[in-house]
């Protein structure tokens, strides 16, 4: 006969990443900022040289 599973303990533990960890976000924001600054400085240099 089939057993009921009423008393079986289900493993509910799943790995949840710490939601306050923003290292990746900081890195991507800073990379984007660096791209903007490099582009701006590059174009300004081009403007001065022509």
């Amino acid at each position: 006969m089939a057993k009921t599973e009423l008393n079986r303990k289900i493993d509910t533990e799943t790995e949840v990443e710490d939601s306050t960890n923003l290292n990746g976000t900081l890195a991507s924001v800073m990379i984007l900022g660096a791209i903007l600054i490099i582009t701006w400085v590059g174009l300004y240099m081009l403007f001065l040289s022509r």
């Binding site: 923003l22 900081l26 924001v29 800073m30 900022g33 903007l36 022509r50």
Partner: protein, 158 residues
């Protein structure tokens, strides 16, 4: 309100960048006196040929001004007058241009000279030709069937 330390960092970064760019614009406009090429100077587009300085297009030496030469261009469908002009190397030149008919562009490729010529308005830009060579002037505003043929040449000579 709780704010993550990193969020503070990039907010400061963002506001700092905004502040720097606005300061650059402010200094350029109010301290250096930079203005757009077409800045309230008007002309009757039907009388361009008889109105100074457009009655004599070309390069002219001037005294007692911030620039050494004035370079006058008249644009019309589909050519520039003059079609070719020589400019001495290192000269500080004020380019003055207008259109006789429709809207034209005025871009000297490879230099910082790039402006729009509107009928009824005078466009001006001051530039120094630092590099010798030939600089093609092209129309970069679509002006009609001959648009792609419309060009002139500035030759910077030593």
């Amino acid at each position: 309100m709780h704010m993550h330390k990193f969020e503070k960092i990039w907010l400061i970064f963002g506001f700092g960048a905004l502040l720097v760019f606005l300061t650059v614009i402010g200094v350029s406009a109010f301290y250096l006196g930079n203005q757009p090429p077409s800045c309230l100077a008007t002309i009757d587009p039907e009388k361009v040929d008889t109105t100074a300085p457009f009655n004599e297009p070309g390069l002219k030496k001037v005294e007692g001004k911030e620039w050494d030469y004035e370079l006058v261009f008249v644009a019309s469908a589909f050519s520039y007058s003059p079609a070719r002009v020589e400019v001495p190397l290192g000269a500080k030149v004020k380019v003055i241009a207008t259109s006789k008919d429709v809207m034209h562009g005025f871009q000297a490729a490879g230099t910082n000279v790039n402006m729009m010529l509107e009928p009824g308005y005078i466009s001006e830009v001051v530039t120094t030709f630092k590099n010798p060579g030939e600089f093609l002037i092209v129309c970069n505003e679509y002006c009609g069937v001959g648009h792609h043929m419309m060009h002139s040449m500035i030759e910077v000579v030593e």
